[in-house]
Amino acid sequence: MSEHSHKSEHHELKFWEKYIFSQDHKVIGIQYGLASLLFLLLGLGLVSIMRWQLAYPGQPIPFDKFVYPAGIVGVAVILIRGMKIGIHTLIGVLLISIAFLVKYLISNDTRVSDGIMLPEFYNQLGAMHGTIMIFLGVVPLAVGAFGNYIVPLQIGAPDMAFPKLNMASFWVFFVGGVIMILSFFLPQGPAQAGWTSYPPLSVIESQGQTFWLLGMVFLITSSLLGSVNFIVTIVQLRAEGLTWMRLPIFVWAQFVTSFLLLLAFPPLEAAGVLQLMDRVAGTSFFMPSGLVVSGTPLDVSGGGSPLLYQHLFWFLAHPEVYVLILPAMGIVAEIIANNTRKPLWGYKYVVYSIIFLGFMSMIVWAHHMYITGMGTAISVFFQTTTMIISIPSVIILTALFLSLWGGSIRFTTPMLFALAFLPMFGIGGLTGLPLGLTTSDIHLHDTYYVIGHFHYVVAPGSIFGLFAGIYYWYPKITGRQLNNMLGKVHFWGSLVAMNYIFFPMLIVGLAGVSRRLYDGGMQYAHAQAVLPYNEMMSIAAWFLALFQIPFIINIFLSLKKGKKVENDNPWDATTLEWATPTPPPHGNFLETPVVYRGPYEYSVKGSSTDFIPQNKK
């Protein structure tokens, strides 16, 4: 984000052309990054409120006590350097808007009565937490931010193939996000039928659902535009000599991810359009005949099928979970190779596994629907595909584990996150197996076990992978290192806190406690034994939130105060993004790079350095 280091080739760009409606993939990547980090923060905020109700059902939410102090601190931070505008202004504005949002959320009597959360509000928080985390947090960060910033650099391209389309894709995403945010301010609040939005419930719910659907249509469109761009970029703009089997794993991951987005998102778009019709035009695509809602027959023509929606939804949403994990795996692979100073073990196995994973992920979707009344034949099909799809993940993990052997491991902050990713994703993945078999899924379906399973893969899995990526590429993006001490606090705090949150979920789930319970299962006899865990998980969640503060401080502080990098390749890495100036100028490379070797040529015998960049003859 610094102005020096490049002569503008054409005319001087105006501020808004350069930073707002920019067509430069790097600026767009940063825009995506900031937006998605804010959304992650919001998702975290929502879940922090939610966890209060789970820990102390029926007790007034105390968070409004923090609102004014936070607001005052915010104003103070803004004024800290007089009327000067800078990064501190941003932090201050952030604090004030969070304070305002929390205040707004918990001071509305359709959501909170006498300070006590109402069930509607709990459901809204749950639905929006899931939606925001997945569609506005992790996907835009993994694909929008890292994909945009890193992929063109790693393949030696001057930009994405279609810069205008790239800009459009960000702004369409932005509109989608704004719609989702606006829905919080509706009189009856945002969507409350879960992130899965199963009809008929979602069709008879309040206005927020319409906003959710509209927002989703925008987000989907944005992803579609983005994925076309990524695929064309990777296929067409690879530098000379950069053959397919020389691509960094991260690029492979983005490539397959883009295909998943491209081909799996349209069915959800269809489902969204049909549900929108059901809500707005009174059609009955998902509404069967003869519904009676709270005593009055529903006035719809009927004849629809609720299960149709579930098929369309999961046809996307299963591939979607691999969209969440593949980029993170790619980042982890990059970082492991770099910090063990040796090539990845089994590059080819990993590549083939990623491709196979992508392919298989399109035909396992109904494992989310075992309990909807599935016959034997179809269940055999989906169980088998589900078991088969676990194999490539096992291979990827095995390869990453074996890559450590014989390395010279450096425990840098990105490496810590990458290393933690392995066992954490392992727990998440392994707990997917009993869910993948119909018979054990009978007991575990829709319990906290599922919640535990997927949080292990998305939080200490995907999110850790993405954190690792931020720590790893920050020097390239800004020219400065993130602070190591703060990074380690962030890492250890998050790792411990997350395990305290998500491991108990597995235990609670095995006891048979349903998910999405407003009171955490307080009424149920079978939940009594595991109820105490609720408080523990909540406290850990708040600690987790606190441990993000060093990270936020680090991100902003290091922009100005971080240690300057000495050269363009501070990690002594091999891939092409490090062959650019820091930060890369418009057009990226000073001269068109040519690639002579594979992506991870570390510790090659007979070489003077322990790494040989891809573009070195």
Binding site: L201, V394, G406, D446
Partner: protein, 254 residues
């Protein structure tokens, strides 16, 4: 060691096979997890920069871990073919005959379970949505001959022990999920469909646990968390006498 997963009490005939499957999966998971964890910790200590300043280009030469993948696949296949498929086929394909079973209709609504017994004649009376009122949530047409003796309750399911129960699930409004944790039964209730589910209760309720629970497992609106029903498993005699009282009560109220 057998109960380290803390599964809830099992009160059905098929439950133990589900449990042993869950256990068998978790044993495999534990072995894998601890096996890899030991390797992991060992490796990151042995090969940290201090202990191993120069990395080896070749790294691990062994391919044994790849063969481990086949072992994992083998265990998965074993669980799939040996347990899951036959058990599932039993659950969804091998229903008891109506005459051998306690047949009940369960109609879910926001946020209650309507239980409907066919009564002495063994035939369910007709329901009509026009007749739905708060006293008659099922919209049962009492003028229908076969409906006269039908017994309905709300949130209270009684079943005799050791006799298969065959339950027809349907919903009036949104999707619910009929979950009986102690029976290892869970079935989504989809509006517009009638879905059967069956199990054989083997454990009577007693003073200490006067009833079991029906838990709604699928988000169905703001009252999802309180959509709880009770299930009482009785001896055949107790069940019959309960039926009789209900029938008398019904006769008295018409």
């Amino acid at each position: 060691m057998k109960d380290f997963l803390n599964l809830p009490l099992n009160a059905s005939a098929h439950g133990s096979s589900i449990d042993s499957m869950i256990y068998s999966m978790h044993y495999m998971m534990l072995v894998l997890f601890f096996g890899w964890s030991i390797y992991f910790i060992f490796t990151i200590i042995k090969f940290r920069k201090k202990n191993n300043p120069n990395a080896s280009y070749v790294g691990a030469k062994t391919k044994i871990p790849l063969y481990l993948v086949f072992v994992v696949a083998g265990i998965e296949a074993f669980d799939l073919i040996g347990f899951s498929i036959p058990l599932w086929a039993e659950r969804v394909g091998n229903f008891p005959k109506e005459k051998d079973a306690t047949v009940v209709r369960v109609v879910a609504e926001q946020f209650a379970w309507n239980i409907h017994y066919p009564g002495a004649d063994g035939v369910f009376g007709k329901s009509k949505i026009e007749l739905v009122t708060s006293d008659n949530p099922l919209g049962l047409d009492r003028t229908d001959e076969s409906a006269k003796d039908d017994i309905t309750t709300i949130n209270q399911l009684n079943l005799p022990v050791d006799k298969p129960a065959l339950i027809y699930l349907s919903s009036k409004d949104v999707i619910h999920s009929f979950g009986l944790p102690v029976m290892r039964v869970k079935q989504d209730v989809i509006p517009g469909q009638v879905i059967p589910v069956w199990f054989t209760p083997t454990l009577k309720n007693n003073e200490a646990t006067p009833n079991y629970e029906i838990a709604c497992a699928q988000l169905c609106g703001l009252g999802h968390y309180r959509m709880r029903g009770y299930m009482t498993i009785q001896s055949k005699e107790d069940f019959d006498s309960w039926m009789k009282t209900e029938a008398e009560y019904l006769a008295a109220s018409y």
